[in-house]
């Protein structure tokens, strides 16, 4: 073992103080039969700095029957529990479970508390160095549970212990609970999936098309083959939302009487309108252009985002009761102060519409356009003649959109020049997505990287080309923009009939918010600078949270979805709160792009097709639904749940079924400075049949493959009451509620027992190699009900 500081605690109070002092860097040692092995084999990620000895604490090893039941101290030895006449007499199940642990020697040393709090058994977790190189499993701070695609014969058949944060969700700016809605899609329940998704992102049909997908690169499935096509699934669910807008965009049932004005109808404005309207406020959205949508309409070309999708989205909001007032420019047609007087709150989401200038000679020439103006004109179906030879300046998504639009509208030669280099892995990579760039190249657009524009060449006031220098470096190692040029010579001179500058945008200075106390809010690009639709949605939700608390209507909305997600994961039908981890070897399916030739047919043909409901369901099956598949190792735990026992800790008293709520890093809910003090077991009904049946391979070393704890009250051949709990089949003990319900009031017979056994394993999600556990569990449950011997 590696060195550590050793401290003797004389009281449980001292132990807790020491634990708090070491703040997660100490372990307590009760019996030592589990901990010393964990430390010797360096199983845990962090080796403890200190070990706190509990063996000297007196009075915690008592076994005391009282009027309500029996109280057993955390430091009582398993041998003493197993041999105690009091326990054997009335709590036979508990005695049997304690007796089932390992060998007599271990039971002479191991304690009840230690048994309940022991670390899980899992090959990937405990022996990473012995099975072909290091495996950093999820429990060790890695990204994925190796048991999912690997050997999982000893693992859970009832799902995985959930993570606290999921990589896909945590990288999504809107923190969308991706695993949750994918679970629903997997079950074919698009309605529920839609309900979850819309909570985080009411514009899913749009982001499902145009999001630069922050989530997919982080997907743990990527380490195995390819990431889950989250965006395609999002698009499918988003389209479902719009198809069923009457359900998802229903007017609020209650009106608050509060009025909120939103200035700007881009993604931030639309998302904010949804959230605010949903909580019952009266919403008016002001838009200076003739139609709502902002950048969604006037900047993103229709081959990426068809206008009818946007129309449906706006329709949906109107259906909720959001009023859109177009052709009204706040600050001109109507004063902001006027809006503020008439509303309880005003949210500015005016975006970044001011194109950045190159500031090079010749920029004022005829034939020089700015990207947003050009795209807006195209959206309004205004004719812009560019000639046959177009040069686009810029390396971001807007530049690529402009180039592709110009190409589709007939420009024969379109070249994109940018400071950035073409290598997608460089610190100086282009900001446009790799996929967009590749598609642009397929369409015949030529990318000329690593060039900086020195001058726009003009003749008679009309642009005829550009002169460039080589760009040596674009960004500092910390990512800040600081281009370096080789100005010793001109790099490349290009002819052009027209030039489109797409080097970025900023907010228009004129809309800088006048300060008005507590009633004026901002969101979207005008706060963040040019960003993405999903970031605008996230920003809108944050602003809505601020507005709601300013209106003193509810607590912050922002914190709401995350909290609900947790409940959702936990409150499915039964008491189960595990994630349904799955592993499906099918290959990634994603919406395919039309061939380049077809794409060139015009700007109104959507490039990428969506997936069918069947396809997204299949793709959702590829989601690992990441979690830890190790099973709870404690035998006593299973018995305690069946006996309806409580666990008294240094902080609380909690029922056993709630105590063993495993997460991906712990088998119990114990906090770092919390210790088990004692267990309290209520008296089981007089005459109840109690037993603990444990199926193992080699008794002294192996842990249960399946165990069943049962308490059965039978009177005149009828089952009066019953509790059945399965062990070693899930991250924590699994109570067989369905079997219990089925049995109550029924005569005990072979057929009834078989039926209850089947009910006990209803809802199992076996992995590749552990379906055999189901058969064992059924057999054990059946024998327990019939009172038959196990072997």
């Amino acid at each position: 073992m590696k060195p550590f500081v050793h401290r003797n605690a004389r009281s449980i109070g001292e132990a807790v103080r020491l634990l708090a002092k070491y703040n997660g860097r100490a372990k307590v040692n009760a019996g030592g039969t589990d901990l010393l092995g964990v430390m010797r084999d360096r199983i845990t990620v962090d080796y403890p700095e200190a070990v706190i000895n509990l063996k000297r604490i007196e009075g915690l090893d008592q076994i005391k029957p009282d009027s309500k039941g029996i109280r057993i101290g955390a430091l009582a030895k398993l041998a003493d529990v197993a041999n105690s006449p009091d326990v054997k007499e009335e709590y036979r199940l508990l005695a049997e479970s304690a007796y089932s642990v390992a060998s007599p020697h271990v039971r002479n040393m191991a304690t009840v508390g230690g048994n309940l709090a022991q670390d899980v058994r899992c090959w990937y977790y405990r022996y990473p160095r012995r099975i072909g190189g290091p495996i950093i499993c999820l429990r060790k701070g890695g990204k994925v549970c190796s048991a999912l695609p690997g050997d999982n014969r000893y693992h859970s058949v009832f799902g995985a212990a959930p993570l606290r944060t999921y990589p896909c969700s945590s990288y999504c700016p809107a923190e969308t609970d991706i695993p949750a809605y994918l679970s629903k899609v997997r079950k074919g329940d698009l309605a529920d999936a839609a309900r979850i998704l819309i909570e985080y992102n009411p514009l899913a049909a749009i982001t499902g098309r145009v999001c630069p997908v922050f989530c997919e690169p982080e997907c743990n499935r990527g380490g195995f083959d390819e990431p889950v096509a989250i965006q395609c699934i999002e698009r499918g669910v988003g389209d479902y939302v719009l198809e069923h807008m009457a359900t998802y965009f229903a007017p609020p049932e209650q009106q608050t009487g509060k009025k909120v004005a939103i200035v700007g109808s881009g993604p931030a404005g639309l998302a904010a309108a949804y959230y605010l309207r949903k909580s019952g406020h009266e919403i008016t959205v002001y838009e200076r252009f003739t139609k709502p949508g902002g950048m969604l309409r006037y900047s993103i070309p229709s081959f990426r985002l068809p206008k009818n999708v946007l129309e449906k989205q706006i329709d949906a909001l109107e259906r909720m009761g959001v009023t859109f007032k177009c052709d009204v420019e706040v600050g001109k047609a109507i004063a902001l102060s006027n809006l503020q007087e008439r509303h309880d709150a005003v949210l500015l989401t005016q975006g970044t519409w001011k194109s950045l200038k190159l500031n090079v000679p010749g920029e004022e020439s005829e034939g020089v356009h700015y990207a947003l103006d050009y795209l807006a004109k195209v959206s309004r179906k205004e004719k812009v003649s560019l000639g046959r030879n177009v040069v686009v300046i810029g390396g971001g998504s807007v530049a690529i959109d402009v180039a592709r639009t110009a190409r589709r509208l007939g420009a024969a030669e379109v070249r994109v020049i940018c400071l950035e280099c073409r290598d997608p892995n460089s610190k100086d990579k282009m900001l446009a997505q790799e996929r967009e760039i590749v598609e642009a190249e397929e369409e015949g657009i030529i990318i000329l990287p690593s060039l900086g524009v020195q001058a726009i060449l003009a003749k008679d006031g009309r642009a005829i080309g550009i002169e460039t220098v080589t760009c040596l470096s674009v960004r500092e190692p910390d990512g800040s923009f600081n281009p370096l040029y080789d100005t010793t010579c001109t790099a490349l001179t290009l002819d052009a009939d027209s030039i489109i500058i797409a080097i970025g945008q900023s907010a228009e200075a004129s809309v800088a918010p006048q300060t008005a106390p507590g009633r004026l809010f901002t969101a979207g690009d005008m706060v963040s600078g040019p960003s993405t639709v999903v970031q605008a949605v996230a920003g809108a939700r944050k602003a809505v949270g601020e507005i709601e608390s300013a209106l003193r209507w509810t607590d912050s909305v922002e914190s709401l979805p995350a909290g609900q997600a947790e409940t959702r994961r936990r409150s499915d039908e039964t008491d189960m709160y595990f994630t349904d981890s799955s592993f499906d070897e099918t290959r990634r399916v994603q919406g395919s792009s039309r061939p380049a030739g077809e794409r060139m047919g015009g700007i109104n043909i959507e490039d990428t097709s969506g997936l069918t409901a069947e396809e997204i369901e299949r793709e959702a099956h590829r989601c690992f639904n990441c979690g830890c598949l190790a099973v709870g190792p404690s035998d006593v735990a299973v018995a305690l749940v069946a006996l309806n026992a409580s666990i008294v800790t240094t902080k609380r008293r909690i029922t056993a079924d709630r105590f063993f709520r495993a997460s991906a890093t712990s088998s119990t809910i114990l906090e770092p400075d919390e210790l088990i003090r004692e267990i309290r077991v209520p008296k089981p009904p007089a005459g109840a049949r109690q037993r603990y049946d444990k199926f193992t391979l080699r008794k002294p070393i192996d842990f249960a493959l399946v165990s069943v704890a049962s308490v059965l009250t039978v009177k005149d051949g009828m089952c009066k009451d019953v509790r059945i709990v399965l062990g070693a089949v899930g991250p924590s003990p699994i109570r067989a509620f369905a079997a219990e319900e089925m049995l109550k009031g029924k005569p005990i017979s072979e057929a009834v027992a078989a039926e209850a056994a089947a009910a006990a394993v209803a809802g199992v999600m076996p992995l590749g190699m552990n379906a055999y556990k189901i058969q064992i569990a059924k057999a054990l449950v059946k024998r327990a009900i019939l009172g038959q011997p196990v072997s």
């Binding site: 040692n29 430390m39 041998a79 020697h105 040393m109």
Partner: protein
């Protein structure tokens, strides 16, 4: 307040500087530290017995708490010396295989004799653990049934399959002590 705490801390430091073990009737005062002959906080009892005290009769096989080879008797119970930190055995009375023979006459323990008489071993590596486990059982229950013997020894592994002879040997002593 602050002063009281300092004194208490100091006292604690003094207390944990050394430990006392009574092994096979002999008292060992061992300092905690990293010098030769001292015990480190991370030493297991089996390490201390074998490496520090030279009591190599206690065997170390799996070091995982699964095989029973390292069994010693502590406070009357058969325990695994590989799963105990030596510093946590302070003040304990421990018996190892070396302590079974009669201290005055040098005569072997009846169990040891029986193991020889019944050739209850082949390679002998698991034997000290077997004998210590059996001794703890017989001390608590001088005339166990065969099932009780099997149960008590269920944590002692033998790769040479000596179990049949072991049970006979132990039962022979059990009958005598009855």
């Amino acid at each position: 307040m602050a002063k009281g705490k300092t004194i208490r801390t100091r006292r604690k430091a003094l207390e944990t500087e050394s430990i006392r073990l009574v092994i096979n009737g002999q008292t060992y005062d061992l300092n905690i530290g990293s010098r030769f002959g001292e015990v480190e906080p991370f030493h297991t009892l089996s390490q201390t017995l074998r490496d520090t005290l030279g009591l190599t009769g206690t065997k170390l096989s799996c070091d995982q708490g699964a095989c029973g080879a390292c069994t010693v008797i502590m406070d009357g119970h058969a325990v695994l010396s590989c799963k105990l930190l030596t510093v946590e055995c302070d003040g304990k009375t421990i018996t190892t295989i070396e302590g079974l023979r009669d201290r005055d006459t040098g005569e072997l323990d009846p169990l040891q004799k029986a193991f020889i008489d019944y050739t209850a071993f082949q390679c002998g590596f698991c034997t000290p653990g077997m004998i210590m486990t059996a001794r703890a059982l017989l001390d608590e229950r001088p005339s166990p049934s065969e099932d009780e013997v099997k149960e008590a020894l269920s944590g002692n592994f033998c790769r040479c399959i000596s179990h049949y002879q072991v049970i006979k040997a132990i039962m022979s002593v059990a009958q005598k002590e009855r």
